[in-house]
């Protein structure tokens, strides 16, 4: 067998292992180990790599953000932030039609802003909101479906553990990815709220009514949310504003939520140890997958499969959008079987090289150059530039033509084709990352096996899972519409970073 054949055969072998219930990290580890053995004709090289690879993988500074964010999520729950978020949202929205469900979505979005995991967001908000939804006469399936959909906001709204992993795999800037996720995340929350208002009109019996809460109480409930706003502002603002690295942001967030939990009386020795062991379980699970993926991807790189696949797709001359849509549909299907993190670690090393060589027309050199020139003129760079130079520049811009670099350089604008193309690749990578994140999350709430559905349904024994399945289809429709919008208009994702 050639190396490429070994690489290609490793996919079905890996899938068989995973479907035989082998833990995903272990399956990738075995596939990578066996693959390297086959390519090298012996296990010496694979074993030698292990001497330092486990240590270097686990001692990654950028990955240390993962346990810190997980710990932060636990402290946020201990600090009662999930409850105060729900109370605040509920006091403002609760009296509307479907208002308590809308409040649950709002609270999930808020909790997503301090928690980087969907399963944790769904589980935490489920504990807080499910009893309230029941109390106000909301139908079982509608309630569980709402919370499942709300749970996906945990990952869409930064900080997000999965985005951190994507950033590392695709070698992209974590801060920019977080910024790019904000608008699609808010769109998701708005979309779910629209779904709820349509649902309660189609099925009026699915939601009870509740009298409005006095204004004074609403403002008091709002005031209780300040710790959440503080932590979110500090972490995401600090990372985006360049005050600190993402890892530093995670550390600040973890300490901040711990202090708040302590003053709210939620942080005792016992709950602290409980947070440690819960963080230990999720962290070990994630890092073992990261280790398996590092090993498997190392093998794939040696087998040349990703490069060959990327070259093959380019040669076929498929339209970039066709390739993108096929990949997104693939994720949607796989998302019904696997958790988002495993999927990203498993597939991004193959798909990302393919996507990065396709031209989605993200960057138009001329219009980008013109934009930069306009910015430069607006900031006063035109002062002291000879009038005839400015006349030439203005004439070229009016005609929609490229301005030669000698001229634009007078204004301090030195954009090259190479730089523009590099930006195009970066924008594509960020846009693709957000799209993948959304479809993967949609997979987590897609019947019959979406993981979040199981978690939420397990909290409400009286509701048959079929009821949840029926109601969640409305939320999935909203997800699909949103993905179509984001595919059609990349600017929705990218405008915050361009």
């Amino acid at each position: 067998m050639t190396n490429i054949e070994i690489g290609l055969w490793s996919f079905p072998a890996l899938l068989v292992l995973i479907f035989l219930r082998v833990p995903i990290g272990l399956a990738m580890f075995i596939a990578g180990f066996a693959g390297l053995g086959l390519i090298n004709g012996g296990f010496d090289i694979a074993l030698a790599r292990l001497k330092t690879e486990t240590y270097t993988t686990f001692s990654s500074y950028s990955l240390s953000i993962v346990p810190m964010f997980l710990l932060m999520g636990h402290f946020a729950t201990l600090g009662g932030m999930s409850t105060s978020l729900f109370k605040a949202a509920e006091s403002w929205l609760g009296h509307r039609k479907g208002g308590v469900a809308m409040a649950s979505i709002g609270a999930c979005a808020g909790f997503g802003a301090i928690c980087g995991s969907s399963l944790a967001t769904a589980a935490t908000m489920g504990r807080v909101a499910l009893p309230e939804l029941k109390r106000y006469g909301y139908a079982g399936g509608f309630s569980t479906a709402t919370l499942a959909a709300g749970g996906t906001l945990g990952i869409l709204i930064p900080p997000s553990v999965v985005l951190v992993i994507y950033a590392i795999l695709a070698e992209q800037n974590i801060a920019k990815l977080f910024a790019a996720a904000i608008v699609p995340g808010l769109l998701a929350a708005v979309g779910y709220i629209i779904v709820i208002s349509i649902y309660v009109r189609l099925f009026p019996k699915s939601a009870g009514v509740r009298p409005p809460v006095p204004m004074s109480e609403r403002f008091r409930a709002m005031f209780d949310v300040w710790p959440v706003l503080l932590v979110f502002g500090l972490v995401v603002g600090g990372i985006y504003g360049g005050l600190f690295t993402p890892t530093e942001g995670a550390a600040v967030g973890a300490l901040g939520t711990a202090i708040i939990a302590f003053f709210n009386g939620g942080l005792t020795l016992q709950s602290l140890l409980g947070s440690f062991t819960a963080t230990a379980r999720s962290t070990a699970m994630i890092f073992f997958i990261v280790l398996g993926a590092a090993f498997y991807n190392g093998f794939l790189a040696v087998s040349q499969v990703p490069q060959t696949a990327a070259a093959w797709v380019t040669e076929q001359g498929y339209s970039p959008y066709t390739v993108l849509i096929i990949i997104l549909v693939f994720y949607l299907l796989l998302g019904c079987l696997m958790d988002s993190l495993s999927m990203i670690l498993l597939t991004i090393p193959i798909f990302y090289p393919i996507i990065s060589v396709l031209d989605f027309g993200m960057v138009d050199f001329v219009s980008m150059q013109h934009g930069m020139i306009r910015d430069a003129i607006a900031s006063g760079a035109a002062e002291g530039v000879a009038q005839d130079v400015m006349d030439q520049i203005n004439a070229l811009m009016a005609a929609g033509q490229e301005v030669p670099r000698q001229l634009s350089g007078e204004l301090g604008v030195r954009l090259t084709e190479l730089r523009a193309n590099a930006l195009g690749v970066e924008y594509t990578a960020i846009w693709f990352g957000i799209l993948v994140l959304i479809v993967v999350e949609t997979g987590l709430i897609t019947p019959p096996v979406g993981m979040i559905l199981f978690i939420i349904n397990a909290m409400d024994r009286q509701t048959p899972i079929v009821e949840t399945y029926k109601a969640v289809m409305f939320f999935i429709t909203s997800d699909l519409i949103r993905v179509a919008l984001l595919v059609a208009f990349p600017a929705i994702t990218l405008f915050l970073i361009t």
């Binding site: 995903i24 272990l26 990654s60 710990l71 530093e248 062991t277 070990a284």
Partner: protein, 169 residues
């Protein structure tokens, strides 16, 4: 016996959690020092890296004992309980072998760092310190992995449940 290994792995996970908390404090102190002009903690980056490696190795045994690893079980759920039990037993044996290989090779890495005397860039502490700490935790991982595999094989052979999986919230 099972409660001994569960307790051991839990204690190690808590030690890992304490290390993680100390790293968080160091990072925050470093930021405060940097922003107030008092100066950042020298080599905070290196401390985080070494500490993280230990913490992750310290977390692994508890994840092993409580069955925390992500799996896809919808296809195997159709199999009979007995077949599933054997499947789990075989997987846990393979997992234990993998953990032992990882620990043994990590010792090799430790030896070579000890031999070369490589130190970190800023703090100049020997890299083998980090490897030694990680190796100590990895040994527990291997031992716990073997125990857990033995439990699963016994469970498959006798049909009795010895260890209930799943950790507390």
């Amino acid at each position: 016996m099972n409660s001994f290994f569960l307790g051991l792995s839990k204690a190690l996970a808590i030690v890992g959690g304490i290390v993680l908390s100390v790293l968080i404090l160091i990072v925050v102190v470093s930021i405060i020092g940097r922003e107030t002009g008092l100066g950042a903690v020298t080599g905070d980056y290196e401390i985080v890296e070494a500490g993280m490696a230990f913490a992750i190795f310290a977390f692994l045994p508890y994840a092993q004992m409580t069955g925390a690893h992500a799996t896809v079980d919808i296809f195997t759920n159709v199999l009979s309980t007995k077949v599933q039990a054997w499947l789990v037993a075989i997987i846990e044996v393979v997992f234990a072998i993998a953990l032992i290989i990882i620990a043994v090779q990590l010792f090799g890495g430790f030896e070579s760092k000890l031999r070369t005397g490589q130190t970190t860039l800023l703090l100049q502490f020997p890299v083998w310190w980090g490897y030694a700490a990680a190796f100590a935790a990895a040994v527990v991982g291997g031992v716990v992995g073997v125990w857990h595999a033995m439990v699963k094989v016994t469970e498959a052979a006798t049909g009795k449940i010895i260890a209930v999986e799943g950790g507390e919230a």
